[in-house]
Every structure is written in C-alpha cells, then in structure tokens.
C-alpha cells in the first residue's frame, strides 16, 4: 500500500465534493475490493473518502411496492433484513451467499454495484429486478447502469446513495461458485414481475452481467422449467479461465437458469 490522505466526510455532499476537488480520490465503502488492490499496489489513490460515517446510507426501508436499500448496507444486513427476506427473499439469499462472514459484514451493496466485478452477485439481482440506482445527482435504471467489466455509468464525482428494488412476484438466484474464490462462476437470477420476465447472468459474460433474452422470451410464454428445454446459449463471448471454459460456462448457464426457475 502506498501512503494516502484519509478523509471521512459526514455527508454525501461532502463526499462528492471531496471526489470532485481532491486529486486522485476514491470512495471507500466496505473496502473488500479496494483495500486488497491497494495492498497489492494495483491501486494507488492519493485520497481515500470513507463513507462509513454517513449514517443515512445504511438504511433499508419499504416504500410502497419497493424496497430501498442504502448504498452502505452491508451484505449481512441485507441478508438478515426482515423487509428484504419477506418481500424479496431471493435478494436476501443472494446477499447471504456472498463471500464469507467477514466479507459480508464489511462489504456493501453500493461498493459491489459500483465496482461491477464480472463475477459479483448483486449485478445479477439489480438487473433482473429492474432496480434503480440513485446517486447524489440522478437516478439510473439498471439497464443503463452496467457498462462492461468494472465499468458503470457513474461519473467521476458521483456517489451511489441507494438502490430501489421493485418487488417481484417470483424470483430466485442460483449461483455456481468458483471452487476457489467462491465468487460466481455462473450466477443466474430469474425474476417475474407482472408480465416482465428477466433472466440475468453474472460470472460468465466477458462484458459482465447480461440478460439472456432467449430464455426471457421462452419463459414469457410459460414460466416453467419445461419452457427452457432444448434452449442453450452460445459459448462465444463468454469468459474462459482455468476453472471454466466458455463451453462449460454456457452449459452451466442453462443448468442454473432451469434451477432458478424451479426455485422461483
């Protein structure tokens, strides 16, 4: 780790100002991604802007048919929130399956979504549930937010403040874990909200999370595992590494999608 200046603003406005004015500044949420990269000297921000003292970023609340989760809510708090468990159990289960207990008690939804790791779990839920990302400047629809590997629609001085999730009628997440890291080798989130059916895939796409439109179309006819029979996805454009070739990932996408539909 290189030396840096540590800032701890008390408000989102202060955080945004620090981002805009301080040289090479980075937000720090749970630090589960940022700190390891800094320790390995792969990232070297001059200023760290810690969001941990901004309390209203940690809330989880219900607003009509929506669940609103503050950017600084940890994975553990999402997993154990009665509101989330009662209304979007698939989301609570997803949060409870991230990393290990230490990671879940530090890592945050805002950090995870902002980071947009291609193997992260949350992006699949955010996209499948048609969530809205709120920042200090605007609201961004999930479909507009994820812009490729570790890339999002966020601007330099933009801070995620909360994410709103509409409640689905049926939803499930199936994660096939990388045996070593336990990130998603393939994760499929299936959600049905009225006539809107979404199937999103994380862990596999070489551009990060994506929607599997053929599966969505098939399930729109009838929301059942049977509708998926014979459906497969091409391996081209999928990631390959020592743990899984593109072909294996393509196969797992179909398997996990069927399992998610069965579980939803």
């Amino acid at each position: 780790m290189y030396a840096f200046t540590y800032l701890r603003p008390g408000s989102v406005r202060g955080a945004s100002k620090a981002l805009a004015t301080k040289e090479n500044a980075k937000l720090l949420a749970g630090g589960q991604t940022l700190l390891p990269t800094m320790k390995q000297r792969l990232a070297s921000p001059d200023h760290i802007v810690d969001l941990s003292q901004i309390d209203d970023l940690k809330n989880i609340e219900q607003k009509g048919r929506r669940i609103v989760i503050g950017a600084m809510a940890t994975h553990a708090s999402v997993a154990s929130s009665a509101l989330v468990r009662d209304n979007i159990p698939a989301l609570a289960a997803l949060a409870g399956g991230i990393g290990d207990p230490a990671v879940r008690h530090r890592g945050t939804i805002g950090g995870s979504v902002a980071n947009n790791d291609p193997a992260a779990d949350y992006p699949a839920a955010v996209l499948a549930l048609g969530a809205t990302i709120h920042t200090n400047k605007r609201k961004i629809a999930a479909d507009e937010f994820f812009a490729g590997l570790f890339t999002t629609a966020l601007e330099e001085d933009e801070v995620i403040t909360k994410i709103t999730f509409p409640m689905p009628s049926r939803a499930a997440y199936q994660k096939f874990r990388n045996p070593a890291s336990r990130y998603a080798l393939v994760g499929v989130f299936v959600a049905k909200r009225g006539r809107d059916i979404r199937v999103t895939v994380t862990g596999a796409g070489s551009n990060g999370v994506f929607r599997w439109s053929a599966a969505e179309a098939a399930l729109s006819k009838r929301f059942s595992v049977k509708s998926l029979e014979g459906l497969s996805i091409s391996a081209s454009g999928l990631n390959g590494d020592i743990h899984a070739s593109p072909e294996y990932r393509a196969h797992l996408i179909a398997v996990m999608t069927a399992r998610a539909v069965a579980a939803a």
């Binding site: 780790m1 096939f176 045996p179 070593a180 890291s181 990130y183 020592i242 743990h243 294996y248 797992l252």
Partner: protein
C-alpha cells in the same frame, strides 16, 4: 492405562496458548531496532539479467542496504544445497545446478530472488525495490514435466536435457520375465498433480548479529532448527555452528515445506551483520505460493502383470518427476527412495522395476510435501490394482486380498523389509464400517436422483519414522536420521524434556508429556517439552516423515530408562535396600516384599541434595540424555474407502462417505491421532478434487492466491468414519508406527478410484474439479448414446 498415560485422549496442552492468541510465532518476535527485508523477485520464468542497477534504491528513504548475488559471493556465502545424492543408472552423480540465494546473472522461475532491500519499514523496503532497474533478456521457459527433456531450452549448463538424474530401482530382467509370463497386463498413465503446501503460518525469519559475541541468532519457521544451523553453517558458510543459534519458536504448520533451507532466512541472517540491525522477513501469501517448495508433480506410466488367477507377477513403472528450477534441500530423495521403495504396496510382488527421471523446469522448486513420495507411490499402486480388477472382472477387494503380504518380515523387491502388519484385518474392518455390502443399494438410490455413485479403495502402506542412519546413508542421505532427547528432572520432581523433534501442529507437548507422565508418574502439568532452540536442545534431526513418535519418543524412552536406573540407585540408598530389590511403579519406589516406599519427587530432591549416598559411587543430579537410532523404518498401513456422488449435470462431486482404518501400531493419544488422520485425509481429498498449481506456458503461476488455488474446505468434506487395527511395531520400544501422513497418502487413490468407478472410465485426472468431471461425464454420455 492411567488418565494421562499412553493411550489416553488427553486434551492438547498447547492449544490453550494457541487459541487464546498467546502463541509465539516468528513474526511475533520483535528485536530492538529490527528492520525489514523485501525481496525483489523475478517476474519472468526464465531470463538473463543484463543489467541490475541498485543505485537509486540505495538512496531511497529509509533504505539501509540493497544486496545482490554479487554481495553474497563477495562474502563467500555459498549457494543453497541439496543434501541427498542420487546416482543415475549409468553411475553418474546427479546434476545439481548452482542455486544462489540471490540470482547471479540468471533467473529461473517466477518468484526467483533477484535482490533484497532492507529498510526501516516494510513499505520503504518495497518502495526501494521499485527503484531497482533490471534489464531482463527473457528466454523461452520450460514448464511441462513430460516435455522438459525434449525442450530446446536448457536451464542449467551442468544438466543436458534438463535432466537431474535417470535413476532406477529393482530387477529389470526379472520384471521383463514376469511380463513375458503374464496372462493379463494392465497399463495406466497417471499425473500426480503439483501442490502448494499452504501452511497456515507463512514462512518468516528474523536474523540478528551480536558484535560483542561475534555470533548470529536466527528465528525461523523451521521443522528442524539443528539441520538448518548445520546447513547454514557448514555448507552456506554464514558462521561456525558455535556462533549461530537457530530458534524455531511456535510454527504454524509445515507439511514438509519448512524442512528446507531457503534463500530468505539465509539472506536475513547474513544481512543483519551487513546493516548492523536485526533483519526481519515475513512472507506474504503470494510469495508463499511462488516460493515455498511445491509438492508432487509426477507423470507416470505403469504396467502390472497378472496371472490368470489374479496373482500379481510384476510391476514396471516409468516416472518423470519435476523438481522445478533448482534442487531444494531434500528434493532428490522424494521421487526416488521415498517413492519407488513403496511401489510394492501391501502386496507380495515378485518383481518390480521402476525408472525415475528427474527434470528441471522453470517452476518453483519441488520437495517433500506431506507424505513425500509415498502418496505418489500409493497412487500408482492403488490406481493400477483397482484398474486391473475392473479389467479382469474381479472384485477389487478380493484382488487385493489375493495379493496381500501375509508373512512378516517380508522383503520387497524394492529395498524395504516390512516388519509387521495385518492388511486383511484393516481391509475387513474398513469394509464393515463403510458398509460395502449396502453400496449397490445406495448406488441405485443415487441413480434415481440422477447422481452417479462410486466406491474406491486404497490399501496403502508407507515407510515412516525415517530412520536408520546407516540405511539412509547408504542410499545417499547427507545426514543421519536418529533423534536425541534429554530428560532433566528438577529437584522438586518436575521434568523438562529436551527433544530434537519439532512440533508445528502435531501436539508433542501433550503426547511426549504423556509418555513421561506414564513412566515417571509425574502429573502432566509438571512436565515441559522443550524444543526448537539449538542453544537449549543438544541436537536434533527434526520432524517430518512421521518420525517424532517412532524415533523422537524412542529417544526419550532411552533417556527415561537411564533416569529410572539412576533414580533406583538413589532410592536404594534412601530405602536402605539393595538396588536389585527396588521396584518402580506409579511414581513410587518400593522395596520388594516390604511396605517401604519413597516417592519419585523425594528421590529427585535427594539426587540433587546428595546427602544420603556416596557421590564417589553415584553422581549427584538426575538428568540423562540419549541418542536413538532405530533398526528399521516403521510401516503404517491401512485401508481407506471412499464413496462419491457426482452430479453429471454440473460435474460437482460430493464425498458421500469416507472410511479410514489405519494400523499405526500403539496409539499414544487417540484423539490427536484422529486429528492427524482428519487433516491428512482433507489434504488428500484436496489433492484429488480441488488443489493444483497451474503454470501457463510462459511460466506465470496462475494459481498464486486463494482466488484460484482451491484449498479443501469444511463443506468439501464429510464427517470421516475412523477405525484402527493394531500390530505392534517391533523395531521401537513403544511399538508405534507414526500417523502424520497416512491420510494424505491414502486418500487421493481412494477418491480417484471412487471417481473412476462412478464415471465408468479410468480417464479422470486430479484435481477432479467440476469442470474436469463435467467434461468426462459429457464424453461418457456421448459414448453411451453412440452405443
């Protein structure tokens, strides 16, 4: 059996300090004014260093010194050594390429040591290292084990065809004849995957030079501090032995990787004099992946000759063993005498011939890792016999029974003389515990759920308690492998045992104390086991090869015998009886046929006070030492049975059942033995299903962190079912055989025999990851569809 004596499951004394954070590991050692070392490592697998410019680094803030291979050479510090000489078939000595602690003009693996920066803080040392300018001329890398000999690139000038040695054991002509007479020949090709040891505590060192005494002290994560001192002194030339103290305090796991003498501790202790400050180095996890000696990495072709009735006639084996870029301390012994001497397994095999070529590649050095050679041997023998049974349509358990050694001692065709065992007993017991009879039903039930269920055996044997000095000397070892002990009885009757064994997780502070408690009748809390410091302990060969019980404790027994003999003399004077009439039992000396007695503690006090016996006849004091050299290796053996269930849709494997029945001879502490077995099985399952070091073609280690290197975790493992059988080991006084490695030795073959059974093909390689299994399941389904 007493509550704390031999055979009692006494809770581990040392755990209180470990689990309350009061252990004292090398990184916990702080010396006044100590500074930090950071090693600049090669990013290339193979390169010539055209220019190495350290000027800017030397001037960087906080930097006290920057050193390179030239500085070591200028101080006449020698290279790292390999202490076991192997000769090739043609009689030539193995080709040991120079192994400087800091590179001299060339780097040979990613992580190789280019220079060291010593600075006030670790961050400053790292900053300094970033200012070192290195011009590398990158050379092609040799990575592939099987292809190393044919590669165009040569790593060491002394080793043409990248070949360290081409060694053989056994009777070639007799083996050829056996194959000529065979009714059936089974052939297999196996890869024994490369593993990274992953001790929980990474390696660390802190070196200190005392100018007043002209002496060095090195705290280091070592399994054998005396051997480290010997090598650092006699071969590397840091300082004479009497001017070098090596302390291995609490050590958090080794699995072999901390036997060896590495570049980092060598440089840390040497540099402490150069910079005039104690120098500390602690490996980070990535450095551990890159630079700890790895394990295994064999490519093997084996053939088994059988007669029509399933009697084994002969075995021939050809193995290529990858030793990495340099020869580590004991690397040459692992694929030779620790491997091929066990190729007879538990079987009466009339003829065996094995050839082993050891090769250099641009990868981390490979050396002993839990089991060291014996897991590789067991994997060959147990995979081929299971395959032979399947090919011949015989039951794999029956085939084993037909071939078991039944008479002892048994001389194998590959040096070993098995002294005792009952292989049938452990197989029978394991089959009963594993409910092999019910397997068919379980398999059908699994099939209804779409799962493939398979069962596999591993009736393994190992040679432990390594061992007789003359024997290992005749095989090329540069050291003797006895052990030493000193038993010091204090005037108040408490006892200190100084042992040359070294505990790094094994629980010696408990088991060794149990022995003393039983023998002297002294309570556990009055017994201290002292180890790991060359200034305290007389000498020692350390802990590896499951030798602490069989060899280390036997030395203590010898010393205890002397203590008891002397105490009897003192007691005779105190009781005014003749020495021949004194009995010693439960901590009390009694005179035969009388009610006169004196407690051990009183005898100890009197031994030191020396008022009541003539010191011209009996020396004062009660302290005895012993060196013990066994007459043979010990031969733990047993039967492991693994049952797996595979989801062919995803390739995920679940270990449904795992049974281990082991014959370790006499058990000192069954609870600790079970712990050793559990850990060993976990590592063996890790090798079979999850672990594997992967280098890409350019020599980058792709599995250099836990994000990619998959250690087995609790949820990969079932609750093991353990059982024991017992045949006493005849070659040591306690009748014990050793239990530290059995799990890691037996498990890979048991798991892979189950996997291949479930999948219906022998073409499954380790690690059988979900992806690998899915691929096999896919092609099996295609085959089935085509039929």
């Amino acid at each position: 059996m007493t509550k704390t004596g031999i055979g009692a499951s006494v809770k581990r004394k040392e755990d209180q300090r470990f689990i309350t954070g009061n252990g004292q590991y090398t990184d916990d050692v702080s010396r006044p004014g100590h500074v930090h070392a950071y090693f600049l490592r090669s990013p290339h697998a193979h390169a010539v260093i055209r220019r190495l410019d350290i000027a800017a680094a030397k001037g960087a803030p906080g930097v006290l010194g920057v050193f390179t291979g030239d500085d070591l050479a200028a101080d006449k510090i020698g290279g790292l050594i390999c202490g076991w000489m192997i000769h090739s078939k043609d009689g030539s000595a193995m080709k040991a390429g120079a192994h400087p602690a800091l590179a001299q003009g060339k780097v040979r693996y990613v992580g190789d040591h280019v220079a060291v920066v010593i600075a006030e803080t670790l961050a400053e040392a790292r900053d300094g290292a970033e200012k070192i300018i290195v011009d590398y001329e990158v050379l092609p890398a040799v990575i592939d084990t099987a292809g190393a000999q044919a590669a165009k690139t040569q790593l060491h000038d002394v080793a043409p065809r990248n070949t360290v040695f081409e060694w053989a054991i056994g009777d070639k002509a007799a083996t050829e004849a056996a194959f000529g007479a065979a009714h059936h020949v089974t052939k297999i090709d196996l890869v024994n995957n490369r593993l990274v040891p992953n001790a929980m505590e990474p390696r660390a060192a802190i070196g200190e030079y005392d100018p007043g005494q002209g002496a060095y002290t090195l705290w280091t994560t070592s399994q054998n501090p005396h051997v480290a001192r010997l090598v650092l002194s006699a071969f590397i030339g840091i300082a004479p032995e009497n001017k070098l103290r090596v302390i291995a305090p609490d050590v958090g796991g080794g699995f072999g990787s901390k036997i060896f003498i590495y570049a980092e501790e060598t440089v840390a202790v040497w540099a402490s004099k150069k910079v005039g400050r104690p120098v500390k180095w602690v490996s980070d996890r990535t450095e551990a992946f890159l630079s700890d000696a790895h394990g295994r990495d064999h490519v093997t072709h084996a053939e088994l000759a059988m007669d029509a009735k399933g009697k084994i006639l002969g075995l021939r084996v050809k193995t290529i063993a990858n030793l990495g870029a340099y020869l580590s301390t004991f690397s040459s012994s692992v694929p030779t005498y620790l491997y091929a001497t066990l190729l007879s397994g538990q079987y009466d095999i009339p003829a065996i011939y094995a050839e082993v070529d050891a090769v250099y590649t641009n990868t981390a050095p490979v050396d002993a890792y839990r089991g060291a050679g014996r897991p590789e041997a067991t994997f060959v023998v147990e995979r081929i016999i299971e395959t032979a049974a399947r090919q011949m349509g015989l039951d794999p358990a029956d085939l084993r029974k037909r071939n078991f050694v039944r008479k002892f001692p048994h001389q194998t065709p590959v040096i070993m003389m098995y002294d005792a065992g009952d292989y049938r007993a452990s197989l029978d017991k394991a089959m009963e515990i594993a409910d092999v009879k019910g397997f068919g039903k379980r398999k059908r039930e699994a099939a209804r759920r779409g799962r493939l269920r398979g069962l596999g055996y591993s009736t393994y044997i190992e040679a432990c308690g390594i061992a007789p000095s003359q024997a290992v000397g005749s095989l090329g070892a540069g050291v003797g492998l006895w052990e030493s002990a000193e038993v010091r009885v204090n005037p108040t009757g408490s006892v200190e045992v100084l042992t040359g064994s070294h505990a790094h997780g094994q629980g010696h502070e408990t088991t060794f104390a149990q022995l003393v408690s039983e023998r002297l009748g002294v309570p556990m809390e009055s017994i201290n086991i002292v180890h790991g410091d060359t200034d305290k302990v007389q000498f020692g060969m350390g802990t590896y090869g499951s030798r602490s019980g069989a060899v280390g404790m036997s030395a203590i027994v010898k010393a205890l015998d002397k203590v008891e003999a002397k105490a009897k003399k003192v007691a005779a004077h105190l009781l005014e009886a003749s020495e021949a009439d004194i009995d010693f039992k439960d901590g009390k000396f009694t005179v035969k046929g009388t009610d006169k007695s004196v407690a051990f503690a009183d005898v100890a006090l009197n031994a030191y006070v020396a008022h009541k016996f003539p010191t011209s006849e009996i020396e004062p004091g009660l302290k005895e030492g012993a060196f013990y050299d066994p007459t043979n290796f010990t031969f733990p053996a047993g039967c492991h049975i693994c049952e797996v269930e595979i989801d062919p849709e995803t390739g995920v494997t679940e270990i449904a059942n795992y049974t281990a029945v082991d014959d370790f001879g006499v058990l000192i502490n069954p609870m600790i033995v079970e712990g050793q077995v559990h850990g060993g099985i976990a590592q063996g399952i890790g090798q079979a299903l999850t672990e594997g070091a992967v280098y890409d073609a350019s020599g980058q280690l792709l599995t250099a962190s836990y994000m990619d290197y998959c250690m087995p975790r609790a949820d990969n493992l079932p609750s093991f079912k353990l059982g024991f059988t017992e045949t006493r080991c005849p070659s040591n006084p306690l009748g014990i055989k050793g239990c530290g490695e059995a799990g890691a030795i037996a498990a890979p073959a048991a798991v892979m025999n189950a996997m291949t059974d479930a999948l219906g093909t022998e073409a499954v390689t380790m690690p059988a990851t979900p992806q690998a299994v899915w691929k096999v399941a896919q092609s099996q389904q295609k085959l089935a569809a085509a039929e």
